[in-house]
Symmetry: C2
Subunit: 247 residues, 2 copies
């Protein structure tokens, strides 16, 4: 069995915690990780405070294969991600020569001033590698197992597309979904028995509620087709058996 | 000046981390907290693993005024929030007599079986108080400063409506938004100077990008109208001055 590769995400920004901006990056990263066989195990949303960012980065980079951050790499005073990541790794935060030259040329070509604020976006921890940004040029960066990307969803997604081919991916978790017309109160007992019988699978039960009606989506996840089929067919049989009972 | 009241949120559930379900509760809680003057300082999304839930609950309940959890209080085997919260507080997880009787009566009235799975929803840490659930009856609960609510958004929102009147609220953070037709690279420098001049305000800069155009929303937050007006008018003047310069 292939190694299990894990990941955590840190969403950096007061605007998410205040409700002003609704995060769209958690769901996107979760989808991409699932698609490539990496288990996203934890997400933290933290404020624009250096101590909070450093604590989250150091807690999570020690625990998971990869860490992905979004937010706080723009040119303004509240963009402190590069400084915080540098502090977490104990290295200086400094102008990256290649990023600086690239951005300098970019602004010169457009006859725009390469302001002090814009120069901030060329700063990264010493030793970091670029993550290319095809949308707005200023790169993200990787240091150790931490990948630092933009918070604007279009830029985050483009950066992540550049990161994915560099990752070790695990044996993909495959899944089967069984629609269940009953609420969890009906199926909870027998479903738990099936989970106990197939401990190598992960059986999830997701209650749905709309306009006064409850139903449930049952999802079986496994790392082999054989195991998936065995557990999923028992779950389907359980639902079928309940459906044939008197209402 | 009134005390500053802080909060953290724990979103519990593999379905969020796999991308299968897109969280809608973080944004709602953030909006409500902002509206009532409580600072949401941190959010963690954790998997359906007891150790992970216990660690998050104990880290956050010690640090913030309030903790709010969503998810994992249904009737199935993967609903382990009540057990995990009990473990975090070092108290037994047991049937709550009032919840049990209420649910028993509810199912009897509907001629439905009060299954073992449904009975799980009457379990809570010893000493917990109910959070009423007007949607689907089974209550959430509060123990210490931790409020445990459902993950289904309609139920979470209804439970939160019942919690809000019980909370101590802080002096509300008020805000002013200044639309800025320039990207952050232009305004980053002068905006940082204004932040330094008004350290009691929080000045945020939120880059927006759509179809090749960048602009920025500048948000000034403060706990007094006087401080807000002073800082916001300087930000507005900065934007106006830039707008009158040659392009």
């Amino acid at each position: 069995m292939a190694d299990i590769i894990t990941a955590a995400m840190i969403v950096i920004g007061d605007e998410i915690l205040s409700g002003r901006t609704k995060d769209k990056n958690i769901g996107h990263l979760a989808d991409v990780m699932t698609a490539i066989g990496i288990d996203l195990k934890e997400v933290r949303v933290v404020s624009d405070q250096e101590d909070d960012i450093v604590a989250a980065v150091n807690a999570l980079r020690a625990r998971y294969t990869y860490v992905f951050t979004t937010g706080g790499i723009g040119p303004t005073h509240d963009d402190i991600t590069a400084d915080s990541i540098s502090k977490a790794f104990g290295v200086p935060c400094e102008y990256d020569a290649r990023a600086y030259a690239m951005m300098d040329a970019h602004y010169q070509k457009r006859e725009m001033e390469f302001t002090e604020a814009r120069k901030r976006m060329a700063r990264m921890p010493r030793g970091a590698e670029h993550i290319d940004n095809p949308v707005s040029l200023a790169p993200g960066f990787r240091i150790g197992n931490v990948h630092v990307m933009a918070g604007v969803p279009a830029i985050f997604q483009a950066m992540l597309d550049n990161v994915v081919p560099t990752l070790s991916t695990g044996q993909k978790l495959i899944s089967a979904t069984i629609h269940c017309p009953f609420g969890e109160g009906v199926i909870g007992g027998p479903l738990g028995d099936i989970q106990k019988k197939y401990p190598e699978t992960i059986i999830g039960s997701y209650p749905k509620y709309l306009d006064g009606t409850f139903w449930t989506e049952l999802v079986v996840r496994a790392r082999s087709q054989e195991m998936l089929d065995a557990a999923a067919s028992e779950v389907q049989a359980m639902v079928d058996a309940l459906g044939s009972e008197p209402a």
